[in-house]
Symmetry: C2
Protein backbone atom coordinates (compact mmCIF):
# COMPACT_ATOMS: atom_id res chain seq x y z
CA UNK A 1 0.00 0.00 0.00
CA UNK A 2 1.48 3.37 -0.95
CA UNK A 3 1.84 5.96 1.79
CA UNK A 4 -0.44 8.99 1.97
CA UNK A 5 0.70 11.88 -0.17
CA UNK A 6 1.76 14.69 2.17
CA UNK A 7 3.16 17.22 -0.32
CA UNK A 8 3.60 17.85 -4.04
CA UNK A 9 6.85 18.66 -5.85
CA UNK A 10 6.53 20.25 -9.27
CA UNK A 11 8.69 20.22 -12.31
CA UNK A 12 8.37 23.72 -13.76
CA UNK A 13 9.68 24.01 -17.36
CA UNK A 14 7.04 22.39 -19.55
CA UNK A 15 4.88 21.26 -16.63
CA UNK A 16 3.87 24.61 -15.08
CA UNK A 17 5.01 26.94 -17.86
CA UNK A 18 5.04 26.79 -21.66
CA UNK A 19 8.72 27.38 -22.39
CA UNK A 20 8.40 26.87 -26.16
CA UNK A 21 5.93 29.65 -26.98
CA UNK A 22 7.44 31.97 -24.40
CA UNK A 23 11.02 31.56 -25.62
CA UNK A 24 9.94 31.77 -29.27
CA UNK A 25 8.05 35.02 -28.68
CA UNK A 26 10.78 36.69 -26.65
CA UNK A 27 13.63 35.41 -28.85
CA UNK A 28 11.90 36.64 -31.99
CA UNK A 29 11.77 40.16 -30.54
CA UNK A 30 15.43 40.10 -29.48
CA UNK A 31 16.67 38.61 -32.78
CA UNK A 32 14.61 41.03 -34.85
CA UNK A 33 15.88 43.99 -32.85
CA UNK A 34 19.43 42.70 -33.49
CA UNK A 35 18.77 42.66 -37.24
CA UNK A 36 18.74 38.84 -37.51
CA UNK A 37 16.29 37.51 -40.10
CA UNK A 38 15.34 34.13 -41.50
CA UNK A 39 15.23 32.32 -38.13
CA UNK A 40 12.08 30.36 -37.18
CA UNK A 41 11.69 31.32 -33.51
CA UNK A 42 10.03 28.00 -32.61
CA UNK A 43 12.85 26.07 -34.24
CA UNK A 44 15.25 28.28 -32.29
CA UNK A 45 13.46 27.46 -29.01
CA UNK A 46 13.42 23.74 -29.84
CA UNK A 47 17.14 23.68 -30.69
CA UNK A 48 18.02 25.47 -27.47
CA UNK A 49 15.85 23.23 -25.31
CA UNK A 50 17.14 20.08 -27.05
CA UNK A 51 20.61 20.79 -25.70
CA UNK A 52 19.33 21.07 -22.11
CA UNK A 53 19.01 17.46 -20.85
CA UNK A 54 22.53 16.53 -21.90
CA UNK A 55 23.95 19.76 -20.50
CA UNK A 56 22.52 19.32 -17.00
CA UNK A 57 23.58 15.69 -16.88
CA UNK A 58 27.07 16.68 -17.98
CA UNK A 59 27.14 19.40 -15.32
CA UNK A 60 26.25 16.88 -12.61
CA UNK A 61 29.05 14.62 -13.82
CA UNK A 62 31.69 17.25 -14.49
CA UNK A 63 32.63 17.76 -10.86
CA UNK A 64 32.86 21.53 -11.38
CA UNK A 65 30.53 22.24 -8.48
CA UNK A 66 26.97 23.41 -8.85
CA UNK A 67 26.46 26.21 -11.37
CA UNK A 68 23.24 28.15 -11.84
CA UNK A 69 20.99 27.26 -14.75
CA UNK A 70 21.72 30.69 -16.26
CA UNK A 71 25.28 29.51 -16.86
CA UNK A 72 24.12 26.32 -18.55
CA UNK A 73 21.56 28.21 -20.63
CA UNK A 74 24.35 30.54 -21.76
CA UNK A 75 26.64 27.66 -22.71
CA UNK A 76 23.92 25.90 -24.70
CA UNK A 77 22.88 29.20 -26.30
CA UNK A 78 26.41 29.80 -27.52
CA UNK A 79 26.38 26.35 -29.15
CA UNK A 80 23.00 26.93 -30.81
CA UNK A 81 24.18 30.28 -32.15
CA UNK A 82 27.30 28.54 -33.46
CA UNK A 83 25.18 25.85 -35.16
CA UNK A 84 23.10 28.58 -36.82
CA UNK A 85 26.19 30.64 -37.67
CA UNK A 86 24.70 33.65 -35.88
CA UNK A 87 26.95 36.36 -34.46
CA UNK A 88 25.18 38.02 -31.54
CA UNK A 89 26.60 40.50 -29.07
CA UNK A 90 26.92 40.06 -25.32
CA UNK A 91 23.81 42.12 -24.44
CA UNK A 92 21.62 40.05 -26.77
CA UNK A 93 23.00 36.79 -25.40
CA UNK A 94 22.33 37.94 -21.82
CA UNK A 95 18.82 39.05 -22.80
CA UNK A 96 18.11 35.64 -24.34
CA UNK A 97 19.29 33.80 -21.19
CA UNK A 98 17.02 36.05 -19.11
CA UNK A 99 14.00 34.98 -21.22
CA UNK A 100 13.96 31.71 -19.23
CA UNK A 101 13.02 33.73 -16.12
CA UNK A 102 9.77 34.93 -17.71
CA UNK A 103 7.87 31.99 -19.14
CA UNK A 104 4.08 32.04 -19.25
CA UNK A 105 2.12 29.44 -17.26
CA UNK A 106 -0.15 26.97 -19.01
CA UNK A 107 -3.77 28.22 -18.78
CA UNK A 108 -4.71 25.89 -15.90
CA UNK A 109 -1.52 26.32 -13.86
CA UNK A 110 -2.22 29.29 -11.57
CA UNK A 111 -5.74 28.24 -10.61
CA UNK A 112 -4.78 24.57 -10.36
CA UNK A 113 -1.81 25.34 -8.13
CA UNK A 114 -4.03 27.44 -5.87
CA UNK A 115 -6.46 24.54 -5.51
CA UNK A 116 -3.66 22.04 -4.91
CA UNK A 117 -2.02 24.29 -2.30
CA UNK A 118 -5.28 24.26 -0.38
CA UNK A 119 -4.85 20.48 -0.07
CA UNK A 120 -1.13 20.00 0.66
CA UNK A 121 2.13 21.96 0.60
CA UNK A 122 3.37 22.62 -2.95
CA UNK A 123 7.06 23.04 -3.74
CA UNK A 124 8.88 23.83 -6.94
CA UNK A 125 11.40 21.05 -7.63
CA UNK A 126 12.97 22.48 -10.74
CA UNK A 127 16.43 22.70 -12.23
CA UNK A 128 15.81 26.45 -12.31
CA UNK A 129 17.56 28.31 -9.51
CA UNK A 130 15.73 30.27 -6.83
CA UNK A 131 16.05 33.69 -8.50
CA UNK A 132 14.75 32.32 -11.80
CA UNK A 133 11.79 30.53 -10.18
CA UNK A 134 10.93 33.56 -8.03
CA UNK A 135 10.81 35.84 -11.07
CA UNK A 136 8.76 33.32 -13.04
CA UNK A 137 6.40 32.74 -10.11
CA UNK A 138 5.66 36.43 -9.79
CA UNK A 139 5.39 36.85 -13.57
CA UNK A 140 2.80 34.05 -13.72
CA UNK A 141 0.80 34.91 -10.61
CA UNK A 142 1.74 31.60 -8.96
CA UNK A 143 2.29 30.68 -5.30
CA UNK A 144 4.68 28.06 -3.86
CA UNK A 145 5.12 27.04 -0.26
CA UNK A 146 8.84 26.55 -0.96
CA UNK A 147 11.26 26.76 -3.86
CA UNK A 148 13.43 23.65 -3.61
CA UNK A 149 15.10 21.53 -6.29
CA UNK A 150 18.49 21.86 -7.94
CA UNK A 151 19.97 24.91 -6.20
CA UNK A 152 18.83 23.73 -2.77
CA UNK A 153 20.21 20.23 -3.45
CA UNK A 154 23.38 21.40 -5.21
CA UNK A 155 22.68 18.95 -8.05
CA UNK A 156 20.44 18.85 -11.10
CA UNK A 157 17.59 16.46 -11.72
CA UNK A 158 17.65 13.56 -12.57
CA UNK A 159 20.07 13.08 -9.62
CA UNK A 160 18.23 11.26 -6.82
CA UNK A 161 19.42 13.76 -4.22
CA UNK A 162 17.45 16.56 -5.90
CA UNK A 163 14.16 14.72 -5.30
CA UNK A 164 15.14 13.30 -1.92
CA UNK A 165 16.36 16.62 -0.51
CA UNK A 166 13.02 18.15 -1.46
CA UNK A 167 11.22 15.56 0.66
CA UNK A 168 13.71 15.98 3.50
CA UNK A 169 13.33 19.77 3.50
CA UNK A 170 9.57 19.34 3.75
CA UNK A 171 10.08 17.01 6.72
CA UNK A 172 8.59 13.95 5.01
CA UNK A 173 9.74 10.63 3.54
CA UNK A 174 10.37 10.37 -0.23
CA UNK A 175 7.38 8.01 -0.46
CA UNK A 176 5.12 10.72 0.98
CA UNK A 177 6.09 13.21 -1.72
CA UNK A 178 4.42 13.16 -5.13
CA UNK A 179 6.38 14.49 -8.09
CA UNK A 180 4.24 16.27 -10.69
CA UNK A 181 5.74 16.49 -14.17
CA UNK A 182 4.90 16.45 -17.87
CA UNK A 183 8.06 14.42 -18.49
CA UNK A 184 8.31 10.66 -18.17
CA UNK A 185 12.09 10.83 -17.70
CA UNK A 186 11.70 13.23 -14.74
CA UNK A 187 9.09 10.94 -13.17
CA UNK A 188 11.19 7.83 -13.79
CA UNK A 189 14.05 9.43 -11.86
CA UNK A 190 11.68 10.58 -9.11
CA UNK A 191 10.27 7.06 -8.79
CA UNK A 192 13.77 5.61 -8.63
CA UNK A 193 14.43 8.09 -5.77
CA UNK A 194 11.37 6.75 -3.91
CA UNK A 195 8.72 9.38 -4.78
CA UNK A 196 5.17 8.84 -5.99
CA UNK A 197 4.41 10.30 -9.40
CA UNK A 198 1.69 12.24 -11.22
CA UNK A 199 2.00 12.69 -14.97
CA UNK A 200 0.39 15.79 -16.48
CA UNK A 201 0.15 15.61 -20.24
CA UNK A 202 1.16 18.82 -22.01
CA UNK A 203 0.69 17.85 -25.66
CA UNK A 204 1.75 21.27 -26.95
CA UNK A 205 5.06 21.37 -25.07
CA UNK A 206 6.89 20.37 -28.26
CA UNK A 207 4.39 21.98 -30.61
CA UNK A 208 2.35 18.79 -30.92
CA UNK A 209 5.30 16.53 -31.75
CA UNK A 210 6.19 13.51 -29.59
CA UNK A 211 8.17 14.17 -26.41
CA UNK A 212 11.83 13.12 -26.61
CA UNK A 213 11.51 11.06 -23.41
CA UNK A 214 8.44 9.01 -24.45
CA UNK A 215 10.42 5.81 -23.92
CA UNK A 216 10.42 6.40 -20.14
CA UNK A 217 6.60 6.13 -19.95
CA UNK A 218 5.33 3.88 -17.13
CA UNK A 219 2.14 3.35 -15.20
CA UNK A 220 2.20 6.32 -12.80
CA UNK A 221 0.22 6.71 -9.58
CA UNK A 222 -1.81 9.42 -11.34
CA UNK A 223 -2.07 10.55 -14.95
CA UNK A 224 -4.05 13.70 -15.74
CA UNK A 225 -4.38 16.40 -18.37
CA UNK A 226 -4.30 19.50 -16.15
CA UNK A 227 -3.63 20.74 -12.62
CA UNK A 228 -7.38 21.14 -12.17
CA UNK A 229 -7.88 17.45 -12.91
CA UNK A 230 -5.02 16.71 -10.51
CA UNK A 231 -6.80 18.67 -7.77
CA UNK A 232 -9.91 16.54 -8.36
CA UNK A 233 -7.96 13.26 -8.37
CA UNK A 234 -5.68 13.89 -5.39
CA UNK A 235 -7.92 13.75 -2.28
CA UNK A 236 -8.21 9.93 -2.06
CA UNK A 237 -4.40 9.68 -2.04
CA UNK A 238 -4.09 12.05 0.92
CA UNK A 239 -6.12 10.01 3.37
CA UNK A 240 -5.09 6.41 2.74
CA UNK B 1 23.54 56.84 -1.74
CA UNK B 2 22.03 53.48 -0.78
CA UNK B 3 21.05 51.13 -3.59
CA UNK B 4 17.41 50.54 -4.51
CA UNK B 5 15.75 47.87 -2.40
CA UNK B 6 15.01 44.92 -4.72
CA UNK B 7 13.71 42.36 -2.20
CA UNK B 8 12.80 41.93 1.46
CA UNK B 9 14.12 39.24 3.82
CA UNK B 10 12.09 38.62 6.97
CA UNK B 11 12.96 37.40 10.37
CA UNK B 12 10.02 35.24 11.42
CA UNK B 13 9.98 34.43 15.18
CA UNK B 14 8.83 37.62 16.88
CA UNK B 15 8.72 39.67 13.70
CA UNK B 16 6.03 37.84 11.70
CA UNK B 17 4.62 35.62 14.46
CA UNK B 18 3.96 36.04 18.16
CA UNK B 19 5.95 33.13 19.59
CA UNK B 20 5.31 34.05 23.22
CA UNK B 21 1.49 33.84 23.29
CA UNK B 22 1.47 30.91 20.90
CA UNK B 23 3.97 28.84 22.88
CA UNK B 24 2.32 29.74 26.20
CA UNK B 25 -1.12 28.69 24.98
CA UNK B 26 0.03 25.41 23.41
CA UNK B 27 2.43 24.55 26.24
CA UNK B 28 -0.25 25.13 28.84
CA UNK B 29 -2.49 22.59 27.12
CA UNK B 30 0.30 20.01 26.85
CA UNK B 31 1.50 20.51 30.43
CA UNK B 32 -2.03 20.40 31.83
CA UNK B 33 -2.79 17.19 29.92
CA UNK B 34 0.42 15.72 31.38
CA UNK B 35 -0.76 16.55 34.90
CA UNK B 36 1.78 19.32 35.46
CA UNK B 37 0.48 22.18 37.61
CA UNK B 38 1.88 25.38 39.02
CA UNK B 39 3.77 26.46 35.88
CA UNK B 40 3.15 29.96 34.47
CA UNK B 41 2.97 29.23 30.73
CA UNK B 42 4.31 32.68 29.79
CA UNK B 43 7.26 32.23 32.12
CA UNK B 44 7.78 28.81 30.54
CA UNK B 45 7.79 30.37 27.03
CA UNK B 46 10.17 33.12 28.15
CA UNK B 47 12.60 30.67 29.74
CA UNK B 48 12.62 28.49 26.65
CA UNK B 49 13.15 31.41 24.27
CA UNK B 50 15.84 32.93 26.50
CA UNK B 51 18.03 29.90 25.84
CA UNK B 52 17.70 30.27 22.07
CA UNK B 53 20.23 32.95 21.05
CA UNK B 54 23.09 31.27 22.88
CA UNK B 55 22.11 27.86 21.56
CA UNK B 56 22.16 28.85 17.88
CA UNK B 57 25.44 30.71 18.28
CA UNK B 58 26.93 27.67 20.00
CA UNK B 59 25.64 25.44 17.19
CA UNK B 60 27.34 27.63 14.58
CA UNK B 61 30.57 27.41 16.53
CA UNK B 62 30.43 23.74 17.50
CA UNK B 63 31.47 22.42 14.11
CA UNK B 64 28.93 19.60 14.36
CA UNK B 65 27.43 20.44 10.99
CA UNK B 66 24.08 22.13 10.52
CA UNK B 67 21.28 20.69 12.64
CA UNK B 68 17.61 21.59 12.27
CA UNK B 69 16.07 24.04 14.72
CA UNK B 70 13.88 21.22 16.05
CA UNK B 71 17.04 19.64 17.47
CA UNK B 72 18.10 22.89 19.13
CA UNK B 73 14.59 23.50 20.50
CA UNK B 74 14.66 19.99 21.98
CA UNK B 75 18.05 20.54 23.61
CA UNK B 76 16.98 23.85 25.13
CA UNK B 77 13.65 22.36 26.20
CA UNK B 78 15.42 19.59 28.08
CA UNK B 79 17.46 22.22 29.95
CA UNK B 80 14.38 24.29 30.81
CA UNK B 81 12.58 21.19 32.09
CA UNK B 82 15.68 20.39 34.15
CA UNK B 83 15.73 23.92 35.58
CA UNK B 84 12.06 23.57 36.56
CA UNK B 85 12.59 20.03 37.85
CA UNK B 86 9.84 18.75 35.56
CA UNK B 87 9.82 15.12 34.40
CA UNK B 88 8.04 14.92 31.05
CA UNK B 89 7.81 11.92 28.74
CA UNK B 90 9.11 11.70 25.19
CA UNK B 91 5.72 12.31 23.50
CA UNK B 92 5.15 15.51 25.50
CA UNK B 93 8.65 16.78 24.71
CA UNK B 94 8.13 16.09 21.00
CA UNK B 95 4.74 17.82 21.13
CA UNK B 96 6.30 20.88 22.76
CA UNK B 97 9.02 21.11 20.10
CA UNK B 98 6.33 20.89 17.41
CA UNK B 99 4.56 23.93 18.92
CA UNK B 100 7.19 26.12 17.24
CA UNK B 101 5.80 25.08 13.84
CA UNK B 102 2.40 26.60 14.62
CA UNK B 103 2.83 30.14 15.86
CA UNK B 104 0.16 32.73 15.17
CA UNK B 105 1.03 35.77 13.06
CA UNK B 106 0.80 39.27 14.50
CA UNK B 107 -2.50 40.88 13.42
CA UNK B 108 -0.95 42.96 10.61
CA UNK B 109 1.37 40.25 9.24
CA UNK B 110 -0.71 38.43 6.62
CA UNK B 111 -2.20 41.53 5.04
CA UNK B 112 1.06 43.46 5.31
CA UNK B 113 3.03 40.67 3.69
CA UNK B 114 0.50 40.53 0.83
CA UNK B 115 0.91 44.25 0.23
CA UNK B 116 4.71 44.04 0.44
CA UNK B 117 4.83 41.06 -1.95
CA UNK B 118 2.99 43.19 -4.50
CA UNK B 119 5.98 45.57 -4.39
CA UNK B 120 9.03 43.27 -4.28
CA UNK B 121 9.90 39.60 -3.72
CA UNK B 122 9.57 38.58 -0.07
CA UNK B 123 11.66 35.78 1.43
CA UNK B 124 11.71 34.23 4.87
CA UNK B 125 15.23 34.54 6.30
CA UNK B 126 14.67 32.68 9.55
CA UNK B 127 16.60 30.26 11.69
CA UNK B 128 13.56 27.99 11.33
CA UNK B 129 14.05 25.21 8.80
CA UNK B 130 11.98 24.86 5.63
CA UNK B 131 9.48 22.33 7.05
CA UNK B 132 8.85 24.50 10.10
CA UNK B 133 8.39 27.68 8.07
CA UNK B 134 6.15 25.95 5.53
CA UNK B 135 3.85 24.64 8.28
CA UNK B 136 3.77 28.04 9.98
CA UNK B 137 3.17 29.85 6.69
CA UNK B 138 0.15 27.70 5.90
CA UNK B 139 -1.10 27.91 9.50
CA UNK B 140 -0.99 31.71 9.35
CA UNK B 141 -2.31 32.23 5.83
CA UNK B 142 0.96 33.79 4.70
CA UNK B 143 2.74 33.77 1.33
CA UNK B 144 6.50 33.86 0.64
CA UNK B 145 8.27 33.97 -2.69
CA UNK B 146 11.02 31.81 -1.21
CA UNK B 147 11.96 30.21 2.11
CA UNK B 148 15.65 30.90 2.59
CA UNK B 149 17.72 31.50 5.73
CA UNK B 150 19.50 29.04 8.00
CA UNK B 151 18.75 25.69 6.36
CA UNK B 152 19.49 27.04 2.88
CA UNK B 153 22.73 28.63 4.12
CA UNK B 154 23.74 25.77 6.39
CA UNK B 155 24.39 28.25 9.23
CA UNK B 156 22.29 30.12 11.75
CA UNK B 157 21.84 33.86 11.97
CA UNK B 158 23.71 35.97 13.04
CA UNK B 159 26.33 34.38 10.72
CA UNK B 160 26.90 36.72 7.76
CA UNK B 161 26.52 33.88 5.26
CA UNK B 162 22.87 33.40 6.25
CA UNK B 163 22.00 36.94 5.14
CA UNK B 164 24.36 36.99 2.17
CA UNK B 165 23.19 33.65 0.77
CA UNK B 166 19.62 34.96 0.87
CA UNK B 167 20.62 37.88 -1.35
CA UNK B 168 22.63 35.60 -3.64
CA UNK B 169 19.75 33.14 -4.03
CA UNK B 170 17.50 36.05 -5.02
CA UNK B 171 20.07 37.11 -7.61
CA UNK B 172 20.83 40.47 -6.00
CA UNK B 173 23.61 42.17 -4.05
CA UNK B 174 23.46 42.25 -0.23
CA UNK B 175 22.99 46.03 -0.41
CA UNK B 176 19.84 45.54 -2.52
CA UNK B 177 18.23 43.31 0.11
CA UNK B 178 16.41 44.80 3.10
CA UNK B 179 16.22 42.74 6.28
CA UNK B 180 12.97 43.18 8.21
CA UNK B 181 13.13 42.28 11.89
CA UNK B 182 11.82 43.20 15.31
CA UNK B 183 15.28 42.52 16.75
CA UNK B 184 18.12 45.02 16.82
CA UNK B 185 20.70 42.22 17.12
CA UNK B 186 19.39 40.54 13.95
CA UNK B 187 19.49 43.83 12.07
CA UNK B 188 22.97 44.67 13.37
CA UNK B 189 24.24 41.37 11.95
CA UNK B 190 22.38 41.95 8.68
CA UNK B 191 23.91 45.41 8.38
CA UNK B 192 27.35 44.02 9.06
CA UNK B 193 26.69 41.55 6.21
CA UNK B 194 25.89 44.46 3.88
CA UNK B 195 22.07 44.49 3.96
CA UNK B 196 19.74 47.43 4.44
CA UNK B 197 17.50 47.21 7.48
CA UNK B 198 13.91 47.87 8.52
CA UNK B 199 13.01 47.67 12.21
CA UNK B 200 9.44 46.69 13.08
CA UNK B 201 8.63 47.32 16.72
CA UNK B 202 6.73 44.48 18.40
CA UNK B 203 6.34 45.81 21.94
CA UNK B 204 4.42 42.73 23.11
CA UNK B 205 7.03 40.21 21.95
CA UNK B 206 8.34 39.92 25.51
CA UNK B 207 5.00 40.70 27.15
CA UNK B 208 5.75 44.43 27.30
CA UNK B 209 9.17 44.08 28.93
CA UNK B 210 12.32 45.44 27.26
CA UNK B 211 13.88 43.32 24.53
CA UNK B 212 17.10 41.55 25.55
CA UNK B 213 18.96 42.97 22.54
CA UNK B 214 18.05 46.64 23.09
CA UNK B 215 21.75 47.52 23.26
CA UNK B 216 22.12 46.78 19.52
CA UNK B 217 19.72 49.60 18.57
CA UNK B 218 20.98 51.85 15.76
CA UNK B 219 19.55 54.28 13.25
CA UNK B 220 18.02 51.91 10.67
CA UNK B 221 17.05 52.72 7.09
CA UNK B 222 13.41 52.33 8.16
CA UNK B 223 11.70 52.02 11.51
CA UNK B 224 7.99 51.20 11.62
CA UNK B 225 5.35 49.73 13.90
CA UNK B 226 3.71 47.25 11.48
CA UNK B 227 4.04 45.60 8.08
CA UNK B 228 1.27 47.89 6.83
CA UNK B 229 3.33 50.92 7.76
CA UNK B 230 6.31 49.28 6.07
CA UNK B 231 4.30 48.86 2.86
CA UNK B 232 3.50 52.59 2.98
CA UNK B 233 7.11 53.59 3.66
CA UNK B 234 8.87 51.30 1.18
CA UNK B 235 8.07 52.69 -2.32
CA UNK B 236 10.56 55.62 -2.25
CA UNK B 237 13.35 53.14 -1.45
CA UNK B 238 12.56 50.98 -4.48
CA UNK B 239 13.07 53.63 -7.13
CA UNK B 240 16.12 55.55 -5.99
Amino acid sequence: MPRPVRALAFDVFGTVVDWRSSIARQAEAILTAAGVTGIDPFDFADRWRARYPGAVRASNEAGRGFVLLDVIHRETLDRVLGDLDLALGEPERAALVACWHRLDPWPDAAEGLRRLRALVPVAACSNGHVALIVTMTRHGGLVWDAVLGAEFAGAYKPAAITYQSTAAALGIEPGELMMVAAHHADLAAARAAGLQCAFVSRPMEYGGRPAPDAAYAQEWELSVTSFLELADALPPLLAR
